[in-house]
């Protein structure tokens, strides 16, 4: 009887282990809405900086861009938080850096027109860091299709 109980316990433990190991989730799943919002903000930023470079536009005449950009980064941050801070820590950390980059850009604009191409290059590095994460989350869907992913 004792041997039987031991075997039963072992089988139960093994099944429990296998069931719990049916899938792991270290990073939140791909969010197409977030990806689109990010790509749209990148495009608008690139257009804005190209215009500033060509027109030598002043900060005061273009201050609304910074207000809108800050609000859009906040909205993306809020959406990324929906999956939990731990599962989306990389994206959230990079969104914080993107927000800081917009503030730095605004401070620089207050000091003079943004006529150099380095402003767009620097902002694009921030955007690419975020878009790369989304790209790999999207790859994940191909490697482990949704019905196979843990919920």
């Amino acid at each position: 009887m004792t041997v039987f109980l031991h075997r039963l316990t072992l089988i139960a433990l093994l099944l429990g282990l296998l069931s719990s190991c049916s899938g792991v989730l270290f990073v939140s799943p791909y969010d197409a809405e977030f990806d689109r919002g990010l790509a749209s903000l990148q495009e608008d930023t690139a257009v804005f900086l190209a215009r500033m470079r060509r027109t030598r536009g002043s900060h005061d005449a273009n201050a609304t861009f910074y207000d809108e950009a800050a609000a859009r980064v906040d909205a993306l941050h809020m959406r990324a938080e929906l999956y939990g801070e731990k599962l989306n820590q990389g994206t959230l950390a990079n969104l914080d850096k993107l927000q800081a980059a917009f503030k730095d850009l605004q401070e620089a604009h207050r000091d003079g027109p943004l006529t150099s191409s380095v402003w767009a290059r620097t902002m694009n590095t921030h955007f690419r860091a975020l878009l790369q994460i989304e790209l790999h989350k999207k790859h994940s869907l191909t490697i482990n299709p949704p019905e196979e992913n843990p919920s």
Partner: protein
């Protein structure tokens, strides 16, 4: 059920999942390293040409440092996604093999 074959199949599945991510991550890191170096040169050139004020140059250097950290954060996150996919791909093989051997959807 052949345990040795199962281990080989699980390893193959994990390696394939990892490769799908590393094949993209490597060129990304190479490109960013090159772009950061080019941008540093551009800052120096544009400052010398008067297209960037001294204050703007200081801000740009800070922005470049932050951007470099963002790239490293992205690489770290891609590593986590790759690890997740590798483990899940291996577990999928395990699940299929165990269920086939058992004759029912055991796990």
């Amino acid at each position: 059920m052949n345990a040795k074959q199962l281990a080989t199949d699980m390893l193959k599945a994990a390696q394939s999942a990892l490769k799908a991510h590393t094949d993209d991550a490597h060129p990304y890191l190479q490109m960013e390293t090159r772009k950061l170096a080019e941008t540093a040169q551009l800052i120096a050139d544009d400052f010398a040409a008067g297209d960037i004020t001294p204050k703007q140059a200081k801000i740009l250097v800070k922005m470049q440092a932050d951007a470099s950290t963002s790239v490293l954060t992205a690489i770290d996150t891609i590593g986590r996604i790759a690890a997740q996919d590798a483990i899940n791909a291996a577990l999928k093989v395990l699940k299929t093999t165990v269920n086939t051997a058992a004759g029912i959807a055991l796990i």
